[in-house]
Symmetry: C2
């Protein structure tokens, strides 16, 4: 490929707002361009990387026995209504109507579609298991897009869906996909942490995310130092250390408390530790239900966990009016004497690690001392609603949790019969002649985000350093000067490489300085740079430099193809 | 691949409404399923064919130097407004709004997008020409979908866009794409007729369609018997044969005419030939403009041509009220005495081939005799607005036109500076330092329609007969019976073929009759069927049958791989 003909040239300067490295280099190198916020063109260079990532994913999915197919982009809205996902908040769905009035969803994930096509067939247990997948454009009506390809509104995703007889068979498939994902990311040069995660709008009981550690990531994960446990912050479990359990329960006491509404105000007033204070959150769900969440004063509530416990889609803080309407007082909320018919009370496991809590008394400027869980108040749910943080112990107490940031490049979900129970006729005939719902899983990889993540991991201050397997071209051939001999050798080498089907980008530009050509080569990040100049020709050689290396070497012209082939096999 | 694990099995019976062969077999064979009307799933078998068609197109586009990239599916509506295509009737556009209020078009073609991404770069004449293309999902809000993959609402299309300095350079690119398309369709086993066609909503001055002859096609084309000319009916030119030009012009005469409104009524009443009658059509365009189109009585008006002449997007028949409002009379319309300020008059070239027309007199039951063009009436446009038909002569009079039906599988368009004039900043810097608009072309191939067309051409009464290059698998391996020796050989052969990377579908089903397995193999249409049974093993052989052939032959087990390899090279 001649660089002079390539559509999508490099750009020297970028806006200072482009702070994410992958965004900056992919823009500068001519890999992508933004259409509108969060919607990108892949330019020819970017497309080549894209296609190579797709090829690796496809090879590994096929090796695992999965079958590629494709669904329409427009999903009939009825299908999403069958599973009640059309109205689920949190999933940023776009809908559209055609001129005959038919309504559609722009596909975000394709569980309903895949179940719908499968139920068009009479499937017997003999046909199971199977796993069908597609590469297709997905849409998310995100309020904010950011960071180039890291969070977008439209993207190419590989999504796979497995259909099994039962949980037992499914576990094998889940394990197989887990291993397949590990192999995919390993081949792509990405080291992943597999963490337990929240299933969000997908449904099902458990799922895992594949996270690549990076400061640019939006995912916060907790990883045990001994490697025994890893989970997304949203679901991470941890051990609540016992505080003053040796203390005896003292009599409940109400006192005057002229203090502000903050936790510290209570600490100051009563001169007692933060952990001994009772933290109360009054929240309201999408159905107007009032929920009082309780936790030890030194811990934070994990909203995702709380939502799961109370089966809510959204939660917001209760207003002052709502708090007073249940005979309480903002800043002085207490579970003691709460009307359980009006308020659902949820207590974190940490309530059991403290004796003689202090906190509000449901009246302004009045606090309670020596509040004891079980004796003075009860809860509807005693559950894990606490947010883990670095330094916490794992549940078994054997290891310490570290906090890491990372980019989620893939995820795998157990769906069970969540969809096949909701969608009519999503059944197979089992060996005993009975109709049973399919047991499902789903498995996603975002292609563009994976591409950006590779750049986040493989770059220096001059540009990208593509791993061989996804490099847009393998050889970046540069001619310096326009003398007849240089041109002849460069053109000949270009032709020879193309004949050998070794992907080469040939910078054939005239009147462009060596410095500029080298800077472009570093920015684009092709693994091997070959330079032909008067100087190299003096020894009948070309200059060879690995993108990630500092040293250059001279390779005899007659040996260069051989040396490239050796390198290719490495 | 084990047939037992394949998702998408064959179906014995189909609805009688499924009359299009490709639709029927692709459904029955398990290649496609409908989601909603005009939107299809490609099942794993269909996907394999799809991918192979894409591979051929991609190889040939790359060989021609085109560069693959991709645009978002959602196009900012502003871009379509820049070129005034957002409101163009005839293009079945779907629009959508995101929750921030941004409006988008679901991409039908991508001229605006491609121009938009190109204008983001400072392009110099040195960077030209280039041709960028994509495979992406396209949307058409068709009122009617029909015939499986032949006319759909959502489909995968390869669309390419070339950017050139000027018309002269462009012609080379157009020629190159023409030849590339011929090579693509030839490799796919499709014989195409290249016809001049209408540019419709795309714009530009000329374009060509690649048509595969088929009764199932929606395109009617006229082809000269000597091969000198081929054109879509919408644009086909032809010679108007002179009628009575030797006759003298007679005096204009008004007579009573108690007749109906049909052409034949005039013929009967006046006992004069149909061709001598003046055919008048009063139509109204989208801006309410009244247009009177005139043609010789034995010819039909070509609405597409008429639209181009008067530069209208849509035309409808004038109402009786509208006709009377311009002092005329339905069934008795005449150009004689028409008010040219109120009505635009267009006359077909055929007006010049007849003397002494007869026809209406703009009053009920009154006709005119001996109406002569030029003497008794004039027109604003004398133009080719006639519909060609079989038996007409080519314009040069040297050959006869035949009428053929066909399927449009591809098209190539000259766009010129149509888009780059309308879109701001779509300029390159020419050698003289001046900014000039790009000179463009665009080039489309519908992947699904091409797939269906292959089936239309390659099938018999039992099913599909895939050409090797696009077959979902190359070998259909069947085991008959479940004896240990049969299983051992079949499983071994399957493994061997997979190791040799020869694509094989292995019908491993137990308790399925030979007849059923053979019927499925015929339906699916894989090129080579191999059967392993007790009988074939008696001679240490397998039975070999080409899908398109009647004879079977026995091939020794130890020679079968070699024979397949020989066949692959054919």
């Amino acid at each position: 490929m001649l660089y002079s003909r390539l559509f999508g040239k490099t750009v020297k300067h970028v806006s200072e707002e482009m702070t994410v490295v992958s965004h900056k280099y992919l823009y500068q190198g001519g890999f992508i361009r933004e259409s509108t916020a969060g919607r990108y063109y892949s330019l020819p260079l970017g497309m080549r990387v894209n296609d190579k990532i797709i090829k690796v994913i496809e090879e590994e999915m096929d090796r695992a026995g999965a079958q590629k197919m494709i669904t329409p982009v427009l999903h009939p809205l009825e299908l999403w209504e069958e599973t009640s996902r059309a109205k689920t908040v949190g999933f940023e769905l776009m809908t559209i109507q055609d001129r005959r009035g038919a309504k559609f969803v722009l596909g975000g994930t394709a569980e309903e579609m895949m179940v719908d096509v499968v139920r068009k067939f009479n499937v017997s247990y003999k046909d199971l298991p199977f796993n069908i997948y597609q590469f297709s454009q997905k849409f998310r009506d995100e309020l904010r897009a950011r960071g180039g390809l890291l969070r977008v509104r439209e993207f190419m995703m590989k999504d796979a869906y497995s259909f099994d007889r039962d949980a037992q068979e499914f576990e094998k498939e889940y394990q197989k996909m887990w291993e397949t994902y590990e192999r995919i990311f390993e081949r792509l040069g990405l080291k992943t942490i597999v963490v337990e995660s929240d299933n969000g709008y997908i449904g099902g009981e458990y799922c895992h995310e594949f996270i690549v550690e990076s400061e640019m990531g939006e995912s916060k994960v907790l990883v045990a130092q001994d490697g025994s446990y890893a989970a997304h912050e949203e679901v991470a479990r941890f051990l609540r250390d016992a505080k003053n359990l040796t203390e005896k329960e003292k009599p409940l006491q109400e006192v005057e408390a002229k203090r502000g509404n903050k936790m510290e105000d209570g600490v100051k007033l009563h001169k007692l530790p933060l952990w001994q204070q009772l933290k109360d959150f009054m929240v309201v769900d999408e159905n107007g239900r009032l929920i009082l969440a309780l936790i030890r004063g030194d811990r934070e509530i994990n909203e995702t966990k709380l939502k799961h416990v109370v089966k809510a889609n959204t939660l917001r803080h209760a207003t002052e009016t709502e708090i007073r309407a249940v005979d309480s007082e903002p800043g002085f909320i207490s579970p003691v004497g709460v009307n359980h018919k009006k308020v659902l009370v949820v207590g974190d496991l940490s309530l059991k690690t403290v004796r003689n809590f202090y906190g509000g008394a449901n009246r302004k400027y009045r606090d309670l001392l020596n509040v004891n869980y079980g004796r003075d108040f009860t809860v509807e749910f005693e559950a894990d609603i606490g947010l883990a943080k670095a330094g916490d112990l794992t549940e078994d107490g054997k290891s310490v949790l570290d906090e890491k940031r990372g980019i989620e490049v893939g995820n795998i979900f157990q769906l069970g019969t969540h969809y096949t129970d909701l969608m009519q006729g999503a059944l197979f005939t089992d060996q005993d002649g009975k109709s049973k719902p399919f047991y499902m899983g789903c498995y996603g990889i975002g292609v563009g985000r994976t591409l950006a993540t590779i750049v986040e991991k493989y770059h220096d201050d001059k540009g990208i350093i593509w791993p061989k397997i996804v490099a847009p071209y393998l050889i970046h051939l540069i001619q310096l000067g326009n003398s007849k001999s240089v041109l002849e050798v460069a053109v000949g080498l270009h032709r020879q490489l193309e004949e050998e089907k070794i992907e080469v980008l040939y910078d054939d530009r005239e009147n462009v300085s060596a410095g500029e050509k080298f800077a472009d080569a570093d920015l684009i990040g092709i693994p091997i740079r070959l330079v032909v100049s008067e100087k190299t020709l003096k020894t009948s050689a070309v200059e060879w430099k690995g993108r990630g290396e500092k040293e250059v070497k001279l390779v005899l012209l007659k040996k260069v193809i051989g040396e490239i082939k050796t390198w290719l096999k490495e």
